[in-house]
């Protein structure tokens, strides 16, 4: 059954049909949310709110847009809200350098992914968000622009700068 058919069923009063949309899109949205907010707990909080918001706003969904892109936009905005809240929490614990905590995680020998994961976590929010949408969800820059509200050229620049920053961070690790 297509997303649109399920949406129509929900709008006709079949609330349980929404579970199909949740099942179908949860993993993809979780991948995006975890990468944007940086941890599973905050990501789940963002996802819970995002799916509820999507349900409440389902009547506003426009058929001309892919449902997945519409949902992604809601997820990204919830992730931004959660990130902002997290930053306020972090500001209350100025004595703790969370980068030290991150580096306390043990790294398996010969596996370079943890280095890359840590480098990704150190990117500025806007750059990481652009990278996640581009590579975790295979979105075009046009779709990314619709989701984030930023211009396509600005998004390309963010991705470019993210790679430059990643290269710098990874080369720092290599020289330690």
């Amino acid at each position: 059954m297509s997303d649109l058919a399920i949406i129509n069923r929900v709008l006709e009063g079949d609330v349980e049909a929404y579970a199909c949309l949740v099942d179908r899109h949860y993993d993809r949205c979780a991948r995006i949310a975890v990468r944007i907010v940086g941890n599973q707990e905050d990501a789940e909080e963002a996802l819970q709110d995002a799916f509820l918001r999507a349900f409440n706003a389902l009547g506003d969904y426009e058929e001309r847009e892919r449902f997945s892109a519409w949902l992604t936009r809601i997820v990204v905005n919830q992730c931004r809200t959660v990130r902002a809240r997290t930053r306020r929490r972090e500001a209350m614990f100025l004595d703790v350098d969370h980068r030290d905590l991150t580096y306390a995680v043990s790294v398996p020998d010969g596996d370079d992914w943890p280095d890359l994961e840590r480098a990704l976590a150190q990117l500025p929010d806007a750059q990481r968000e652009a990278l996640v949408l581009r590579y975790a969800d295979d979105l075009t820059y046009e779709e990314m622009a619709r989701i984030t509200g930023a211009g396509e050229s600005a998004l390309k620049m963010r991705v470019q700068r993210a790679f430059a920053r990643l290269r710098a961070l990874l080369s720092e690790v290599a020289h330690v």
């Binding site: 609330v15 949860y26 993993d27 799916f51 389902l58 905005n77 509200g149 290269r167």
Partner: protein
């Protein structure tokens, strides 16, 4: 110049990391549906009569203009008669009102009571911006918009 092969390799590695599945709580989906069922008890989503017009990439100025129109509603609500205790209060932030959640962007109006009303908008949840259609006034390092209000002679 950077090494093109190295760059493609980094791109491939980044894509692999970002596409890797992430762990989720076993009951995460069920918790979503629990909240959905709760919400549906009070109000169920209904198809709007006419779909909203889709929007392309948002221009920042257009965002400010939209915020201005929404914010003006918030400002108008803020300048309605208030209890006497706040009359003549010194300038200061009195409220950060959520003016509206326009589709995907939260916009706020910061209202400052003084002889004039000064306000700005939060655009894209990230930056303050003055109302392009109002007189700008500087307040420290921030540019606000000025709204002069005729006092009720009563």
């Amino acid at each position: 110049m950077f090494d093109l092969d190295l760059d493609l390799d980094l791109e491939r590695r980044v894509a692999a990391v970002l596409r890797a599945p992430v762990a989720a709580s076993d009951d995460a989906r069920e918790r979503v549906m629990h909240r959905v069922r709760e919400a549906a008890r009070t109000a169920r989503p209904r198809r709007r009569g006419r779909p909203l017009v889709s929007r392309s990439a948002r221009h920042s100025l257009a965002g400010v203009a939209m915020a201005a129109s929404v914010g003006s509603v918030a400002v108008l609500s803020a300048i309605t008669p208030r209890p006497a205790s706040v009359a003549g209060a010194h300038a200061g932030v009195i409220d950060d009102s959520v003016a509206a959640s326009l589709r995907d962007t939260l916009r706020l109006a910061r209202l400052i009571r003084d002889d004039d009303r000064r306000y700005a908008f939060v655009v894209d949840g990230a930056r303050w911006a003055p109302d392009p259609s109002a007189t700008p006034v500087r307040a420290g390092d921030r540019l606000l918009s000025l709204l002069r209000v005729a006092r009720d002679s009563n």
